[in-house]
Assembly symmetry: none
Homo-oligomer: 211 residues x 4
DNA sequence: GATGAATGAGTCTTCATTCAT
DNA sequence: GATGAATGAAGACTCATTCAT
């Protein structure tokens, strides 16, 4: 059993190493720079060896992105304290998302500029996997909205589209930063977005930042 | 003069034909499917002939995109009646944008999923050309906002970031449609977005669709 | 007749212009940089027009080289005073050749590094035309040698091979200069070569430069 | 070890095969006939395979030439018996050089007519590698000259330029042969050159061939 | 005569995937 | 299981020559 376990650990290590290398290349030079040669070299594995862990290049890339998406979502959710009120949670979520995206700015730059994986023409549908993360995040926002509305803390907006818009605006904000087109600091941008949401969801008179 | 004119017309025809072919390929199969061979074939021209009209593949693609971007902007602006009030104009702009983007859905699918041209690492900067269109459109929104605020029709929001958000939400809405992920009809989506904007900019009590 | 003459002048002008442009390109960038497009542009003639004056690219290049070869030979011969003694004439010839080659250093660099025209595989033999110039020059040297030998001014060497060697050494000297590999000044190099020839042809005791 | 050794042998075989194929093409049709396709076909390898052994076409060609240059130099030096007197050694060197160049006549034809590799405009300087061989050979001649002069066997000439001239004359002799322009047999040509050198370096009275 | 648009064969190079060892 | 050499299809770009105008 020890032997099995050892080989399992090795498997795991190799897999992680490949995914990590793939992400590094994507972050540094974009998807098209991901060649099996480069990944293998970065990961210290023989080129042919990649195929022992991933069916093909596409699987490798999708897995690499999926893993980081999952991790980023986890990081964001960590920043939300479920014991606080809906508005606070929303603020934590939005600024957390901006922060986390900023932390992975190099990778995000590619991911936001090159969303081809979301469509995945031709292929059966492994791309839908990536959409799940977006949906889960949107649902999180929506739950907060619904609670806020139920508890009369938020104005009674339609939660589904508003959740969608909030997410999109947050992503757009991060994208602008990551492209170097943002007019102000990360903190200021997050504050601006939150102020915008306050206008929308809360009383106009106490619309200022309440975080 | 007839001769000059005839050859000029031919030149023009070839150029249009190449740009059109390029766009068709982009729309159908994405940027990476644009090969000089394919474009030439589509345009009914010899491969080498493309280089009589465009310096290289990159120029061809940027020109093709630039032309359609310019045209779409023009189409959108046509739908805005400058003699109407700011809120009406904003509504016309937003739903016009969604409509026009919908009309070019195939091309837009690629354009929204593959924004690499916006960054264009390495190259001197011809990519910045494409950002101009976005900026011009955002400015249009901003002008409407400013007039509305000045005339006390809109709540006093900060026009620059709000213009940015409005544009981004509109684009996100169109993108969701174009990917086939939209939950409702184009008209309903536009209405939803407009209602959202009404919440933000206008009195809560008459926030309904006013178009 | 005026009209015929005028067109003849134009013909001549165009031809010269084309040959000159061709040489400029060869001098600056080598034979492979000679494209019909570039030549036409340099000469201010339409590309197709070249074919009115030269059968094809090869003819153009050979003619351009032939003309300059002829001119250089003429220039060299100008520097030789037929009224002087054989040794003086030989000195004038050798240093004249080095000087003239130096004057056309850019063109010579290509010509000496890229002698493919001399072989002209495949083609019937238009290349032999270029060899004529070399032969004529060698004959000039040989005539001087023969006179010097007849008049007991030179040691009795076999004039044919020695003429060949003298020419080759002179060319080698010029080539080394043109490649930037020469250890000393043009004048010093010429003197060195002449001293070498003096050793060979004249009494060892008065072997110094006598020019 | 068997495995390592076997693959190493294969590697070596492939490399040699590629270099040999390259040389064959150069010899038969000149540098410009060297296309990766042709080399691959000649070597019985897939086109892409070449890039496993050489970074690019230029490297392939330079390596092919370098190898043969090195080998020719070795062959020439083999023919020189270091235990003999300077004059004998010089004779062996010169006629050995002519012989060896004659043996590789087809390749030499291209190499002598197309010396572009020696300049290699644009590139960083890998071309200088090829000049080393020429320098080494010249130095060999020079050493013989110096010894002969020191031992009063040769007239006291300046060894550096004379070594240069001797080498150039030998090359010119070989070139003339290889182009089919030589007036007599290889042996006679070598004898002629040696006689010429005797005139220069030795007493005029016993200037005949002494080999 | 003159033009220059059009052709299309030819070239180097990259890279996902396979498979013998 | 692991390796990495080998494959071969694909793609951007060049340029001599032709020919309709």
């Amino acid at each position: 059993m020890a032997r099995i376990s050892r080989s399992a650990i090795l498997q795991d290590y190799r897999t992680r190493s490949l995914l990590e290398s793939t992400r590094k290349i994507i972050a540094a030079h974009g998807f098209d720079a991901v060649t099996m040669d480069r990944v293998a070299e970065q990961a210290g594995i023989a080129k042919g060896g990649i195929y022992l862990y991933f069916r093909n290049k596409h699987e490798l890339i999708v897995s690499a992105i999926e893993e980081i998406a999952s991790e980023m979502l986890r990081e964001i959710e960590t920043r939300v304290d479920p014991k606080t009120a809906p508005w606070q949670r929303l603020c934590q979520l939005v600024s957390g998302q901006i922060e986390v995206m900023e932390q992975h700015r190099d990778l995000l730059r590619t991911l936001l500029l090159d969303r081809r994986l979301l469509l995945d023409r031709a292929r059966g549908g492994p791309s839908r996997r990536l959409l799940k993360y977006r949906e889960r995040h949107e649902l999180h926002i929506r739950n907060i909205l619904e609670e806020g509305i139920r508890r009369k803390i938020f104005h009674p907006v339609d939660p589904a589209p508003v959740a969608f818009y909030i997410n999109e605006m947050t992503i757009s904000t991060a994208q602008r930063r990551v492209l170097g087109l943002a007019p102000s600091s990360q903190k200021a941008e997050a504050q601006g977005l939150i102020r915008f949401l306050a206008l929308l969801l809360r009383d106009r008179h106490n619309a200022g930042p309440k975080r």
